[in-house]
Assembly symmetry: C2
Homo-oligomer: 300 residues x 2
Amino acid sequence: MTMEKNRIGIDIGGTSIKAGVIAPNGHMLAHRETATPLNPHQGMDQIKGLIGEWLSNSETTIGVAAPGPMDLAHGTFLDPPNLKGWHGYCFVDQFEKKIGKACLFENDANAAAVGEYFAGAGKDAQSMAYITISTGIGAGIVLNGQLLTGAQFSAGEVGNMIISGEGPTQEGLNTGSWESLASGTAIKKRIQELYHSDGGAQELLMRVNKGEIEAIELFQEWIGYLAAGIANLIHVVNPAVIVLGGGVMQGKDVILPALVPAVKERVYASLADSIDIRPALLSTKAGVVGASYLPHVKRL
Amino acid sequence: MTMEKNRIGIDIGGTSIKAGVIAPNGHMLAHRETATPLNPHQGMDQIKGLIGEWLSNSETTIGVAAPGPMDLAHGTFLDPPNLKGWHGYCFVDQFEKKIGKACLFENDANAAAVGEYFAGAGKDAQSMAYITISTGIGAGIVLNGQLLTGAQFSAGEVGNMIISGEGPTQEGLNTGSWESLASGTAIKKRIQELYHSDGGAQELLMRVNKGEIEAIELFQEWIGYLAAGIANLIHVVNPAVIVLGGGVMQGKDVILPALVPAVKERVYASLADSIDIRPALLSTKAGVVGASYLPHVKRL
């Protein structure tokens, strides 16, 4: 991948809009952030404010990461639960009018995957699946430098994979889906039931560290669910590297030593030694970095 | 894809070795078949007998499909259960010595997928997942003309995907794996338990057609398992088309009308209308046809 001008990446989240400008050598020259407003028109003004100075010396297309669901064919937001005011907003059209550059819109898990693949934990890998475990579970898959978006832009929607015949009911998800059993939200509910507290995954890990039996049992069940979903992804795609990100991975020092052997138990014996699971490296900048690469990435 | 010479494809199975020669325009000029011998050296002699006359006017590389597991990096058979005498046989080396042309070795599900993609049910699709449901369950995934083989050649080993927390134990497979719950073998076992007969899936479908309550219940459970695995594949890869092959699909007229709505129920509502599930078209020739394309197909 050869580049001559600076690249701009934008990451729109439920709480903040982030933007960065990255030199052709991969060095991030500047990173800015602003609170996400309720009104998308105001949001577009803020985006112009963040990146305006960078426009003259940057590439003709700007990558933008945002939470799904989105209509990528038309460049519009659909109904992302944590961006209420933005539902139906024709982002790409408005962006191109307001900013005067082309826009490549992509969902945030895919953008983060692209970031980790080209500049993070998957930098040395030919193929990679990035899995984000936070309130939900999503994935982005990069194969030989190409982003797997899927025929209806729904590749990597792994949170809805069925890993069990039973589980809590969650609107819009299958019974026994990976997300309903293993996401941060799922664990938070279990912690609420057990301890009547809102501490979520971090509280669970703290109690595990203290050696509390009930917490350890819940933790092991959770690791089993996490491992089942990862094993499923491996049996479909067999990526060289699995990169794990998302808020839950703040507890990676407790999670990974339990999770890696649990995944190995659930794949063919001939594959177990090749399993390579790594924590994400780019943290909260993965979306911005990945977005900046989007105009250079082929889609599958 | 432009070709000038004839292509040869070979498909080694547990009961027969098939070979075909295909003109640049896609027309199959000849197809020959011989019983698979126990001894692979004898098998190689038979292969030479099948294709010898075709060699002078054919391409320099010949594609060969065979049952896994295989070591594709070294071109050897590992321990395929229905090719006992062939375990450990260095097929590619022996082939190139004996036949005098290069050999591209691939597992049979991937080869059949390539055949269906370029010349069968997926001919018009940009991306396709081919799923074979017979004694086991396997898949081959073709994305934008590229075969997804995976980092350890284990992409598409979907039979080991976990779709349930419980199920019968089967050596080498996860508890609750797709194959242990939904393969032809799994159904055969259930039919044996219920009716003390060896009629398998065909018997089940016959009893369903007669309106037998117990059979209909088992059928619906089976369709649910089949649908769960297909939905999982869709949520990872989101292919434009799903093609179903394998012996079990002889019952496609009963299976598909139940299976398609069951898959639609298990994917995101926004995807349901786009679900496109088709029966395979190439039948027993899929392996030969697919093998003949292998030298022209990039791998992911």
